[in-house]
């Protein structure tokens, strides 16, 4: 990670070359350089703000309001300085990164900002120095790195930690979402399938489907594939298997939401949907399900509510 | 490999015994009810094949505990006539006994890993594994 961030930076390229020699003295901060930076924080901050605003126009932060962007920049730079003063990672840094994570700011805002900070600070110190030999240069680079790198590491860790957390949460959510069963009416249940179906998910769907049929005592289940983007032979195979298993446990499946392109693929691929009833829309499928359970829609004068509106809301049309 | 436990298949009733033991193992390892049924059914198929075609043999179980996954390993061994054409018996519907011919191809689908080693006149060994779903 750190290497990639360094690539475009001229000074750092030098630094990488000379790092081998420097390592023994690496951890210590140079008091003198330290105080140059702290005493000139106003200038450095000003230069830095100019730098970060340059990037602002065509990137992720362009959607953020001017005020928020500025106040965040101020806070950011304060956090950086306080970590210099206290010589280490501070709780301000934790709080700040947590806040940005929650607000959904990208990690690159922080890493770009810190790289800009690195450049600005190095340039500033060098401009203040009387003579720039390689010894002095490496001292400066080392000091700035020792300052900036831990902050970057800390931020990257925080961010990736939160990503992992989010990914694991999403996995659980997805599994729950994977195959919800909606008992719309006595003996009629709907299972809307959304998203891509792979073998693992197909198994889960089948299990949920069958358990749900038993639980809701469903005579008819409507499997709605409107939300399945691609129906290939594999997906069709899984759906057929689910429908057959439903038949074995004593219920009936109606496959609904067959879009034109899905009908085409099914026929072109030579998939035999056999004797499973299919319907183009959930609405038609639901009507068929009502008939199969010996019910029908009765129109009453003055009441367009009821089943009709239920059907409409089912279709979302 | 030393298997934890083996069940001899000598009589028809041993088929039921083998699958019951297999189900208990599966339950203990943490398989869900559906996978328990898959495993018990696979064992039933393998044990019946031994009983029908090789007369006697055994079914052995081994619990696999790896760092990142758990599973049940099932081994079916007999010293029967062996299988001459393995690809043929793996076809759905092939049977020499008037059965459905669903057994072996079915076991392959029920389980996650499946291997047959067989030599005519010497016997048959089928190794199959099911992994616990995460």
């Amino acid at each position: 990670m750190a290497k990639i961030l360094h690539v475009s930076d001229k000074h750092v390229t030098i630094y990488i070359k000379i790092r081998g020699k420097m390592q023994h003295g690496g951890k210590r901060m140079d008091k003198h350089l330290n105080s140059i930076v702290i005493n000139n924080s106003d200038t450095i901050v000003k230069d830095w703000l100019v730098e970060v605003s340059k990037n602002r126009h065509n990137d992720y932060t362009s959607a953020i309001s001017e005020d928020l962007f500025e106040s965040t920049n101020r806070e950011f730079v304060n956090v950086i300085f306080s970590s210099l003063e206290k010589q280490g990672i501070t709780s301000e840094l934790d709080d700040f990164s947590e806040k940005l994570i929650n607000l959904g700011w990208p990690l690159s805002y922080l890493t770009d900002g810190l790289q800009a900070f690195r450049r600005v600070t190095i340039n500033f110190i060098l401009s203040q120095s009387e003579k720039v030999d390689s010894d002095h240069l490496s001292k400066v680079l080392d000091m700035v790195d020792n300052w900036v790198d831990p902050i970057i590491n800390q931020l990257v860790n925080e961010y990736s930690g939160s990503w992992e957390h989010i990914v694991s949460l999403q996995r659980v959510a997805l599994q729950e979402l994977s195959a919800p069963l909606i008992p719309v009416m006595e003996n009629i249940t709907i299972m809307p399938l959304i998203g891509t179906i792979d073998t693992e998910r197909a198994k889960l769907i089948m299990e949920n489907l069958l358990e749900g049929v038993i639980k809701h005592n469903a005579d008819v289940v409507l499997i709605d594939i409107t939300g399945v983007p691609v129906v290939d032979t594999m997906v069709a195979h899984h759906i057929i298997q689910a429908a057959e298993a439903v038949r074995l446990i004593g219920s009936t499946c109606i496959l609904v939401g067959i879009r034109p392109e899905i009908a085409q693929t099914i026929v072109n691929l030579g998939i035999d949907l056999g004797k499973f009833p299919t319907k183009s829309s959930l609405r038609k499928g639901f009507q068929a399900a009502l008939e199969m359970t010996n019910r029908k829609i009765v129109h009453e004068k003055g009441s367009d509510e009821g089943i009709e509106s239920l059907l409409d809301s089912l279709n979302g049309e | 490999m030393d298997f934890q436990s083996c069940v001899k298949i000598n009589r028809e009733w041993d088929i039921v015994g083998a699958r019951q033991i297999g189900r208990e193992h599966a339950k203990k390892i943490g398989f869900g009810t559906v996978d328990q049924a898959r495993i018990a059914t696979a064992i039933s198929e393998l044990a019946r094949n031994i009983y029908l075609y090789a007369d006697t043999g055994k079914i052995c179980f081994e619990i696999i505990n790896e760092i990142d996954r758990k599973g049940l390993w099932i081994l079916a061994v007999d010293n029967g006539p062996g299988i001459a054409d393995i690809s043929q018996v793996m076809e759905d519907g092939f049977s020499t006994s008037g059965g459905l011919g669903a057994g072996l191809p079915g076991v392959k689908r029920l389980m996650d890993q499946f291997d047959i080693i067989s030599e005519t006149g010497k016997g048959t060994e089928i190794r199959t594994v099911k992994w616990v779903r995460k």
Binding site: E207, D219, L248, G250 | V16, V34, A37, R109
Partner: protein, 118 residues
């Protein structure tokens, strides 16, 4: 072991409560056919709610018993097949295509009555 077969009007009701071994299954096939013959029953419900394993052999026996009963003029409905069992059958490639099913015994009887009245 023998599986009990109950008679209710024109129907025969069977609830299989044990882990079916091969001999019991074959015995059941014979018992059911002779009972259909003796009683002249026109419908049969076989409830499998308590059965937690159906392998290819038992599936064949059940499929055969349905076809045989049909030949003898009795419609058969299988009821209460457990989800885990259904999924296993699908994996085995057994679909029991010509067999009628229902969720439970009661539904099975309703289905029979509808079919026989048609």
């Amino acid at each position: 072991m023998r599986i009990p077969i109950l008679k209710l009007h024109n129907y025969l009701l069977i609830s299989i409560q044990t882990d079916l071994d091969d001999k019991t299954a074959i015995q059941f096939q014979e018992d059911l056919l002779s009972k259909i013959h003796k009683s002249g029953a026109t419908g049969v419900v076989i409830d499998l709610t308590s059965v937690d394993i159906i392998d290819s052999f038992i599936a064949k026996v059940l499929g055969d018993v349905v076809t045989m009963s049909d030949l003898m003029g009795a419609k058969v409905v299988l009821t209460g097949i457990q989800p885990a069992v259904a999924m296993t059958l699908i994996d085995l490639g057994i679909h029991l295509k010509d067999v009628q099913t229902a969720l439970d015994l009661e539904q099975g009887l309703i289905k029979l009555r509808q079919e026989l009245e048609e």
